[in-house]
């Protein structure tokens, strides 16, 4: 048996980028990546956008062409699950009965969908969206005459709603809170997004829950909290994810809203690292611990973890950034603004292209943009530089943001 090398549990965005980075950084030992799904590492954002719309095949979401890992001497074992981590022996036990020894281990197990335990949840035509197979199953239910009920007015729910409308389905979105994307958007911007969806013909019900999904073997309706039953030929539940911490927990690692890691992605065991959606990690720029469910964090923390596993000492610290595409509207957010003191708007909402800067102590604490990705990049730079900026200059489109960054 060869010397144990690095084992990565999880073949998603974080695990995939970590494995690739280990090689890019010159690591020559063995690398084994374990993935439950039958696919090579892929990114999930297209699954609720281009892939769901049928504009791109599922393979377009692969991080690298199939076979790339083999070419890099990375062993990718798909369709198999890690069932336990034996820290004393430094081995990972697999669902197929195999055992793999590790010198260093990365846990990149991500998250799984949060289930909604209501009556009818397991009826045919009721979906969750996390993986390639889910996206394909939803798409198959969005044919001619489809009536889709989306439970949850967050990013996933709204992206699915948008894709379904673009494919011609009737769509009802049911959101328990009084606004869309309650964790991420200001009420004002949430209202803008609500108008976007209503303008495209989506029936959005705020402050409403689904009490049951009805139907014999296949879903035929959704009974709402007001008592009304809306007809449905399919339903998608998008109410968030739950971090897959069980392996780490069973192995005795510190877990608290995710696997607790430091800025070098180290868990409470010095030979075990973690990255991606599953980690609760410190963010020096924000001055607090966060757990992020984002594409960028999965990629960049995966890269950071790989470097740290090879002895790197650069702390992982970035300002969180998110995006969504709904219809032809691109939404981008930067930061996790809390206690907003002032909102500065640049651009014109009526034109459908603007940025809101959320100010705190004279600095930008976060920003959100509708169809203005470029200004978000400047906002991120201004935040990283911790620049004090004049709100009047930010609001003035004739003032180029470059000049604020240079000034």
């Amino acid at each position: 048996m060869s010397d144990p090398g690095i084992v990565v549990i999880g073949a998603g965005q974080a695990g995939g980028w970590a494995a690739r980075t280990l090689r890019d950084e010159g690591f020559e030992g063995g690398i084994v990546v374990i993935g439950e799904e039958p696919y090579p590492p892929y990114e999930r954002p297209p699954l609720s956008k281009e892939v769901l719309l049928g504009k791109e095949p599922a393979e377009s979401s692969y991080l690298w062409p199939e076979g790339s890992f083999g070419d890099l001497g990375i062993e990718l074992r798909t369709g198999v699950e890690a069932t336990s981590i034996e820290r004393a022996e430094k081995t990972v036990v697999l669902s197929d009965g195999g055992t793999i020894a590790y010198d260093k281990l990365l846990i990149a197990t991500g998250g799984r969908v949060r289930r909604l335990p209501i009556q009818g949840e397991t009826l045919e035509g009721v979906h969750y969206l996390r993986g390639i197979d889910d996206s394909a199953a939803i798409r198959a239910d969005l044919g001619e005459g489809a009536k889709l009920v989306v439970i949850g007015g967050g990013w996933i729910g709204l992206e699915v709603a948008a894709a379904a409308r673009m494919l011609g389905a009737d769509v009802v979105v049911v959101e328990a809170l009084e606004q869309l994307c309650g964790r991420a958007l200001t009420p004002d911007l949430a209202t803008y997004l609500l108008d976007v969806h209503r303008g495209r013909g989506v029936d959005v019900r705020l402050g409403t829950t689904v009490e049951a999904l009805t139907g014999e073997s296949r879903v035929s309706g959704a009974r709402l909290s007001g008592g009304e039953t809306v007809p449905a030929t399919a339903a998608v539940i998008g109410i968030g994810i739950v971090p897959n911490v069980e392996l780490a927990e069973a192995a005795g690692l510190e877990v608290q809203n995710g696997i607790v890691v430091d800025a070098l992605c180290r868990t409470s065991d010095p030979d075990i690292f973690a990255a991606g959606d599953v980690t609760n990690h410190p963010n020096g720029l924000l001055g607090r611990n966060i757990r992020l469910e984002s594409w960028e964090n999965a990629q960049n923390q995966g890269i950071a973890a790989a470097k740290a596993m090879l002895g790197g000492e650069t702390p992982y610290c970035e300002i969180p950034w998110f995006w969504s595409d709904q219809y032809d509207v691109n939404i981008q957010l930067v930061g996790l603004p809390a206690d907003i003191e002032e909102t500065v708007t640049r651009g014109n909402r009526a034109d459908g292209s603007f940025v809101e800067f959320y100010m705190k102590d004279g600095k930008i604490d976060g920003a959100a943009a509708i169809d203005n990705p470029r200004d978000i990049r400047f906002a991120k730079r201004l935040m990283q530089a911790e620049k004090t900026v004049d709100p009047a200059a930010l609001a003035d489109p004739s003032v180029k943001l470059q000049t604020l960054l240079r000034g």
């Binding site: 991080l63 890269i303 990049r377």
Partner: protein
Amino acid sequence: MSDIEFHAVAKTADLDDGEAIQVIVGKKEIAIYNLEGTYYATDDICTHAYASLADGYIEGDSIECPLHGGCFDIKTGKALTPPVTEDLKVYEIKIDGEDILVGVPG
């Protein structure tokens, strides 16, 4: 190479230092950049996903894609940071008076 054709696509005054614009030559989207008074051209569409790099963020000699933040070297087209791994094509630029000409295979 003789099969490169130069097309007047913009005026030098169209771009300030540190700015980029998209131009269309035939069916090809090309980004033109001004780096301290010198003009460069690359493919405009990111090699990772469909986004116009001309809407991106220029820092030094690199352009950051507005969609996912991948960076390319403007002068060489080289992919610099994830998620981009495939390089951009670069095109030759000529300046004729106020005109910016970009050389594209005919």
